[in-house]
């Protein structure tokens, strides 16, 4: 993923010759006329980002009304950054990478040095210049100086240098091929990568001799405290004074709503030279309860929303009166499928040999009636499948998912296999007996208020082959500890995973379930790997337990091999494929359904709405994601 500087050389010439002047929103033009704002040419960088819009060039004006669940960082933090802060690099819907906030980027051939070139003249929403200093300030003045609350760079980062105003050089202590991919996610935002340094320096004694006095005035003990408070990282962003690079800046924060207004200094234009965003403002009304939110969307109050599939029938019925359109998006994130994992390191010695036995896992996989679950939970719209990478991925193979030999429903075969494993004895209720005489009952902990219909159907499928399954609701932290501690037998995990997430995750992604549900193995392998790479200098016995060879091979392929090369390279694709082949063979995760669609609801006259889920995306598509190019058709 090395970009040649050719583009950078050609584009500015085109830009300079194509538009003598840029156009701006009427509300900004009025401010310029009143002398409260510099003209648009001065606000835009010399070479603004030219946004290729999805459908058509838009027109200015209007307010988008959306609903949020709470002023809470969790949901929107996932995948996309909550305030819609642009990242230096962006991934397009088709999966290609484009410089965005940055003018260009370059990764050295040894993957050790990464250079970002910024757009000359780009500015924060308060008019402060956006420079390389904003990056080095984050790393040197904050992270290394342990000042303020800072979301640190990855540990492989050795130095961050502002070579000049427009050039940032990041040096790594070991090859780091995925930096460009990192920067597409929340790791490339103004709370993880760069800071509004000009603004923050007001509270820094080294840059402002009055910083202490200012801190006292604001009610803090010293300048460090004041600095920390102002630097406090995102989610939700609470400080309306803090400048942003996003298309919209925060104008008001209340318990019932968040109001965002257009950023007059936003760095992107459309191909007609109109400064983006088209829409004047966004109102995010906080409606905490999911049902109330759903009612509002069905009633046509939202201009844009994504909603789980089970509301679809009602949405179709309300479409006429609600004046909205519906898109069914094939998706792969939470809620669009179902998969499970057994705890390979369960403490219960009687169960453990079975959970670790691939024959047992295959038998269970055969016992599950995927069609029925798909009908009952996803209105028949998902894809019954083994657990694997999403079927939308370029490396997907049907024999890993839909056509997996153990993804069919065959309880008779499952029964035969379980009998052959020495589980032939049953008690009066028809539950098989473990060798120690105890009934074979699996504890399935789940997160949330109530079990999904699907969970109850899986329970029935288990019982049909003589294995008991008990559903237990629990808090996230309880489940977390129960998995690693070896007290929870069976959990829902990672229904499917996107290709991009699979690459990005370091010990996460698909292996994440194993890091919890084979915790002892994971600890062992991780420490072993750290010692091998020199990241750990410990000696003596390795902690945890040595994993079986197939698992070691899997960890090696998934965590090490597939991350040695940039995303999309043949080496990376081959290694990732190998990892998924291992999963298909060993069934550490048992899949049920994948790729059920999400419903996107949008106002009938809203333009430039995406018709597919972007490859880098993992959660609910919020208004922020494509906010800068959406517009209202007249």
């Amino acid at each position: 993923m090395k970009r040649v500087l050719l583009m950078a050389a050609v584009v500015p010439l085109m830009v300079a010759s194509a538009w003598a002047d840029y156009k701006e929103a009427p509300m900004l033009a009025a401010l310029v006329a009143a002398g409260e704002l510099p003209p648009v040419e001065e606000r835009l960088p010399l070479e603004p980002k030219v946004r290729a819009v999805f459908d058509e060039i838009g027109t200015y004006g209007g307010q988008v009304i959306v609903f949020g669940n709470s002023p809470n960082p969790w949901a929107p933090l996932v995948g996309e950054n909550p305030e819609g802060t642009p990242t230096p690099i962006r991934m397009d819907l088709d999966g290609s990478f484009e410089p965005d906030l940055a003018l260009d980027y370059h990764l050295s051939d040894d993957y050790m040095t990464f250079t970002l070139t910024l757009r000359e003249g780009s500015k924060w929403s308060n008019g402060d210049p956006f420079t390389a200093e904003d990056f080095s300030f984050h790393f040197n003045d904050m992270q290394k100086a342990e000042l303020g609350y800072v979301w640190a760079y990855p540990s492989q980062v050795k130095t961050v240098t502002a070579v000049d105003d427009l050039t940032v050089v990041i040096e790594y202590s070991e090859p780091y091929p995925k930096v460009a991919q990192d920067l597409v996610t929340y790791k490339g935002t103004d709370w993880t990568l760069y800071q509004p340094s000009t603004w923050l320096k007001q509270w820094h004694a080294e840059y402002n001799e009055n910083a202490n006095a200012m801190a006292k005035e604001e009610g803090f003990d010293n300048w460090q405290d004041a600095f920390s408070d102002h630097s406090t990282f995102c989610c939700p962003q609470r400080n309306i004074e803090r400048p942003t690079m996003a298309p919209f800046m925060l104008a008001d924060v209340q318990p019932t709503f968040r109001l965002k207004e257009r950023n007059p200094y936003y760095f992107a234009v459309d191909s007609a030279g109109q400064q983006l965003p088209y829409i004047d403002s966004g109102l995010i009304q906080i409606i905490a309860d999911g049902e109330a939110r759903r009612l509002k969307v069905i009633g046509g109050e939202a201009d844009f929303a994504t909603i789980p599939l089970d509301a679809y029938p009602l949405l179709v019925q309300g479409q006429q009166s609600g004046n909205y359109n519906l898109n069914l998006l094939e998706a792969w994130f939470e809620g669009t499928g179902l998969a499970y994992a057994f705890n390979l390191n369960i403490k219960d010695e009687a169960k453990r040999p079975f959970f670790e036995n691939v024959e047992f896992r295959r038998a269970i996989s055969l016992a599950i009636d995927r069609e029925r679950i798909n009908e009952a939970q996803w209105l028949g719209q998902g894809t019954p499948s083994q657990m694997t990478i999403t079927k939308l991925a370029s490396i997907y193979r049907p024999e890993w998912g839909e056509d997996h030999p153990y993804a069919r429903h065959d309880p008779d075969e499952a029964n035969r296999m379980l009998d052959a494993l020495g589980l032939g004895e049953r008690n009066n209720d028809g539950i098989r007996l473990l060798p120690n005489g105890e009934p074979f009952i699996v504890i399935n902990a789940f997160h949330g208020q109530t079990p999904l219909r699907a969970y109850e159907l899986v329970k029935e499928d288990f019982e049909a082959v003589g294995i008991g399954l008990e559903l237990r609701p629990a808090d996230g932290s309880v489940i977390d500890q129960g998995m690693s501690g070896g007290t929870i037998d069976f959990v829902r995990w990672n229904e499917t995973i996107g290709e991009f997430q699979d690459y990005l995750s370091s010990g996460g992604g698909h292996t994440q379930s194993l890091s919890h549900m084979a915790n002892q193995y994971w600890i062992w392998w991780q420490e072993m790997n750290n010692r091998r790479t020199g990241a750990s200098t410990e000696t003596g016995d390795l902690p945890g337990e040595e994993p079986p060879p197939e698992l070691q091979e899997y960890f090696q392929t998934q965590i090490v091999e597939s991350k040695r090369h940039p995303y999309g390279s043949p080496e990376q694709r081959a290694a990732s494929s190998k990892a998924w082949e291992l999963q298909a063979e060993w069934l550490w995760n048992i899949g049920v359904v994948q790729a059920a669609p999400m419903v996107m609801v949008y106002r009938s006259n809203l333009g430039n709405v995406p018709d597919q889920v972007p490859a880098f995306f993992e959660g609910d598509i919020g208004f922020n994601l494509y906010a800068d190019q959406m517009f209202f058709k007249n």
Binding site: R294, A311, Q317, Q449, L457, E470
Partner: protein, 383 residues
């Protein structure tokens, strides 16, 4: 209070014989107290009707397997969200024994909903005492006899089906088993605690009273929600939900006694000043006797009322906690669980029959309150 009218009955007498006679008379009066109470209770028509309804509900719940036509947990996804079955008595314009038509279903390609229609060609008469799916009465007696039903593959779902195609009527009946009973032990515990501590507070006074009152204040000031959540998270996962909920209700009943304790204390403070108690004391009756013989009959009615009114609170409480995910969860069947599943927009708009358990909660709570009112009025039978 009509205590004044009773006071003269405890006129002081000195001789042993007279006191025996007085005791006999008193026994008569105490006995007649209950008789009077019953008479008074039957005057409260609503209370009587309510008591009968409650009796029917409990009876049905006890023999749930027999009264419910289907299995409570086994899913039949092909019948998901089946509307309540229509029972017909006319076919081709002629009167018949009650019967239902067969069913045909398909998925609507536009809305993805399962749509059901009646297949007028096939008919299934409703029979009484049919052999249905097997069940175990009280977990012991195996049986297949159910009150009513139709031959397979006919379906008679009088209250419709839930999201997994299970009979709502069946689940209401089974849900009653848990909803009507699970909090009873907790209530009994808090009742005993409340009566004892309230009694001690009122009778002993002084330092004991002061401490108990401060404890009452403290407990009442503490919001309940955090306690529930902490308990819910602290109980081991392996425990079945019903056990867990039962245990939580028991633990929390340790905190639930304050209301009754205050009532009892207030009542005792009030009674202490009444003439007949003073009279008994002057007559030399010992303290215990004063309490059991003279004061207790006077507020036993209140105690009973307190219990009858605590039960509906517990039924509503179960629904609320299940709604928050802190109470019972499916596949356990209770009214709270059913209402939790029904509390979403799709159900209200498309499958309102899933709200039927709410109707049962409503009626039950109302009945308990009416019975409580009747008992309260009856507790003062001398008016």
């Amino acid at each position: 209070m009509s205590t004044e009218t009773r006071a003269p009955m405890h006129a002081p007498t000195q001789s042993a014989a007279a006191s025996r006679a007085e005791e006999q008379r008193e026994q008569y009066y105490v006995a007649s107290h209950w008789v009077l109470m019953r008479r008074k209770f039957t005057r409260h028509k609503l209370a009587v009707v309510s008591a009968v309804i409650l009796a029917v509900l409990y009876f049905t719940a006890v023999f749930a397997g027999f009264f419910s036509p289907y299995d409570k947990i086994r899913s039949r996804t092909e019948l998901a969200f089946l509307p309540p079955t229509r029972v017909h008595v006319f076919h081709d314009g002629r009167l018949q024994m009650p019967f239902v038509y067969g069913l045909a279903q398909e998925r609507d390609p536009a809305t993805f909903l399962l749509v059901f229609s009646e297949d007028r060609e096939t008919r299934y008469p409703i029979r009484l005492f049919v052999r249905g799916e097997p069940y175990k009465l009280w977990g012991l007696i195996e049986s297949r006899i159910r009150l009513f039903g139709v031959d397979e593959p006919g379906v008679v779902y009088l209250f419709g089906a839930d999201d997994l195609g299970r009979d709502v009527l069946t689940r209401v009946i089974h849900g009653a088993q848990i909803s009507l009973s699970i909090g009873l032990v907790g209530i009994a515990l808090s009742f005993v605690l409340g009566a004892l501590l309230g009694g001690a507070s009122g009778l002993l006074g002084g330092g004991v009273d002061m401490i108990i009152q401060r404890i009452v204040e403290f407990i009442e000031a503490m919001p309940g929600l955090p306690l529930w959540m902490a308990l819910a998270a602290a109980i081991p996962l392996e425990w079945p939900p019903v056990t867990k909920y039962f245990l939580m209700s028991v633990i929390l009943s340790i905190l639930g006694w304050t209301g009754l304790a205050r009532t009892v204390r207030g009542k005792i403070l009030q009674l202490r000043e009444e003439d007949f108690v003073t009279a008994a004391k002057v007559a030399g009756t010992n303290n215990l006797r004063v309490i059991t013989g003279h004061m207790l009959p006077n507020f036993v009615g209140y105690l009973i009322v307190h219990v009858t009114l605590a039960i509906p609170g517990m039924i509503i409480g179960e629904t609320g906690l299940s709604f928050l995910g802190l109470g019972l969860t499916s596949p356990t069947v209770s009214w709270g669980v059913q209402l939790q599943q029904a509390s979403n927009v799709s159900v209200i708009a498309l499958n309102p029959w899933l709200l039927i358990p709410g109707l049962f909660v409503f009626v039950t709570v109302l009945c308990y309150n009416a019975v409580g009112d009747g008992l309260r009025d009856a507790a003062d039978p001398y008016k």
